[in-house]
Symmetry: C2
Subunit: 208 residues, 2 copies
């Protein structure tokens, strides 16, 4: 489906992609420097341009990888056939764990999509993200008809779930600063939330 399969990359390209991802995640598109990427990949700037025509096309590759990686796991969970409450639980737990391991992803995406919204269209068009959402949306409607979930515009329910899961990760640097705690303390805090969020959601969204 995607023309960029990790298996098709040679060793040099892999080194480039790793260094590029680190740099773009850290600094964003406009803050990133091709020189830094070359240095961290252990090679020359010219070689970056040999494999990827320019900064923008290298960035697009990184952006696409991040977006696809973030959504592929989501898709897997949503595709599995279990009852809604279990799925909600699994979704939150798996996704929190994933985000804790990839803390830079949410803010990176929020930011780059804000600066350059067209980029999503290009990547989104070739992905199956919207199908995945549709499936979850429909399951949610079904659960509402069954009387399991409260009556409320499903979009609000989805935004609520995503807010609770994604924001604490996207804002981790801000929160650690304001609350004056260490990264590892905040890590513990996020671990606790893995159990707390589903409890909240069940209390607030499910009819019992």
């Amino acid at each position: 489906m995607f023309n960029t399969n990790k298996e098709d990359l040679n060793e040099t390209q892999i080194k480039i992609m790793e260094a590029a991802m680190a740099e773009f995640l850290e600094k964003g598109f406009s803050g990133a420097r091709m020189q830094n990427i070359a240095d961290n990949a252990g090679m020359n700037k010219a070689l970056l341009h040999y494999y990827y025509r320019n900064k923008e096309s290298l960035f697009k590759q990184v952006f696409r990888d991040v977006l696809i990686d973030m959504f592929s796991m989501l898709t897997d969970i949503i595709e599995t056939e279990i009852d809604f409450e279990s799925k909600l639980n699994k979704l939150v737990k798996s996704y929190m764990n994933y985000l804790i391991e990839h803390r830079q992803f949410p803010l990176f995406l929020l930011n780059e999509i804000y600066r350059n919204p067209e980029i999503v269209d290009q990547v989104l068009r070739e992905s199956d993200v919207s199908e995945t959402w549709d499936k979850f949306y429909n399951e949610l409607c079904q659960s509402q008809k069954n009387g399991d979930v409260i009556e409320l515009n499903p979009a609000h329910i989805i935004v609520t779930i995503v807010s609770l899961v994604v924001f604490p990760v996207a804002a981790s640097n801000v929160i650690t600063r304001f609350a004056d705690i260490s990264q590892s303390e905040y890590y513990e805090f996020l671990q606790e939330r893995i159990d707390i969020i589903p409890e909240f959601l069940i209390k607030a969204l499910l009819k019992k």
Copy 2:
């Protein structure tokens, strides 16, 4: 309290600050261009450097203004003496309305603090933000002792509230893209959430 009072600025400085805020909010520090700021302020680049030594000091001024503006309203609400549930309601409603009018603020802050965490320390030290948080935190603990609010690390409760309020605004561009809806449709959606969020919080957090 702050050495930068809006009243102390002359007309030129006001024009600079307006143009600078627009540019920095739109592009971030590294993407912003002094030339654009000068153009939009209707003046010359050199004049920017006359009033603000360099790009960084101009940025810091903008950053400080945004941070202080965002927290001053919060402080006002938290200072008022009403019961916890009413305060929670008021907090969410006022803040959602504020954020809808200043949609760029959350992502701007998340992002710039991530890129350059030290900047907060400099601005935070001279503000009363931490006192405000402490007050809210203490009130929350008191409500827990009274048996109004469920037993749970207050930090989790605060992060939950902030997530629900801030994320939908910070992610507005992403959400409108993915859900394929217009800005004005999303504006309606956010208006709806002003009533939905308190309902959610009361169900999830209060003992009834």
